[in-house]
């Protein structure tokens, strides 16, 4: 999967977990926190993405990422390993 496709997948997860967010306006450099997503929902979004990609990444690795681009990067890196 390309990074663009993974970004789309992250946006799908955001839509599913926090339906009130209009993901059309979401930019990759934004953080989930900027979008007003609370920590529990952020966790759910990340888990949903991992499920979709059939990946098992320790959640603490997502603790280091700063924004959606970071999430996409980590998912991309692990999915291509």
């Amino acid at each position: 999967m390309t990074k663009e496709q993974i970004f789309e997948l992250v946006k799908n997860s955001i839509r599913e977990m926090v339906p009130e967010i209009n993901t059309d306006n979401v930019r990759i450099e934004q953080s989930l926190r900027d979008l007003g997503v609370n920590s529990i929902d952020r966790m759910d979004i990340v888990i949903k993405c991992m499920e979709d990609l059939n990946l098992k990444i320790p959640l603490v690795e997502f603790g280091k990422v700063k924004n959606i681009a970071g999430i996409v990067e980590l998912l991309y890196e692990k999915s291509t390993q």
């Binding site: 609370n38 952020r42 320790p58 603490v60 603790g63």
Partner: protein, 410 residues
Amino acid sequence: MEIGIEAINIFAGRAFMDVRDIFKNRDLELERFQNLMMEKKSVGLPCEDPVTNAVNAAKPIIDNMTEADKKSIDLLITCSESGVDFGKSLSTYVHDYLGLSRNCRVFEVKQACYAGTAALHMACAYVRANAFNSRALVIATDIARAAAKHTYAEPSQGVGAVAMLISRNPEVMELDYGANGYYSYEVMDTCRPLPEIETGDPDLSLLSYLDCLENSFKAYCDRVDGVDFRESFDYLTFHTPFAGMVKGAHRKLIRSLMKVSADEIETDFQKRVGPSLKYCVQVGNVYSATLYLALASMIDNAQIDNAKRIGLFSYGSGCCSEFYSGIVTPASKAKTAKMDMARHLSDRHALSIEEYDRLLDLNMEWTFGVRDKEMNFNAFSKIYERYMEGRKLLALKRIGKDWHREYIWT
């Protein structure tokens, strides 16, 4: 051989602050208040410290014992991340004021919020191996640092202690022998790098907690045959920094194990986890003592009409975690009812924000390392007179020039 908790009691201070009021007065985002799922948090008075809380939690247990049974306690472990000295452990004071036998080991363990679990299992192993039918007393006692003012840590962090008597007569909870799963690794999530500073990355801590829950449960399943998360445990009790976190963790674990609808998850959460949260939402995070506050809440509030298995998850930042299980019975409920813990929680002073701020300022005068200082009970006389005086509770009176702490019975 049956080993486990013979008696349990909590002490959650004499005053509380409404968590919603903290959010309002500190201009914190109210949306975050809903995620916390917290109602009140216990607030300490200047004359309350980890020693007084520990003693005040354990005293009713000790008072209910015969002299001979009391003498059988030859191990006292305090568990804390809120020590008052780098060398001398809280247990030395606690041992003295509880009037325990001098033929007793006293020491302290530390591993953030996991410390209570560490001590519980060490004490159980000790009682199992001991030739003399000894008992052990484990007391988890912690306080939030007053310096947390104006942060998102402020609304959730409380003060309190839980005392547990460990013996071969586990009337409160018998541990399932050998049914433990551990998961630990180094991570810098939350910490107390200076005596008055609590800091860290709460997001990282949440993620680490979730990784640990999944992996310690997996390690538990590796050791115990035929475990089914939905069927094997009648109730679940998790370390509860705030109830919202437990809700997220329960959902995450279930979803990682099976396909279940959101409604089913919610019903399961209310039924199997809900009873453990009732006391926690009224006290706040009491660190090493939190899981056992949740356990006390579970036993007092769950329907226990026959033997029930409880799954327990302990997490301490840094980090160490454990999933284990135990058995409770209607006798457990009868035993904990004698301590009247719900009444203890309802019998606390409701602080106004002004009183709360004033208490935080007063508490800042009693930080780590203070010496040659006398307690001015007049500064908080209204709460002291109504909620402490004449109740035979332990209170800090003075810290000497040599840093020695002196306490009085109120």
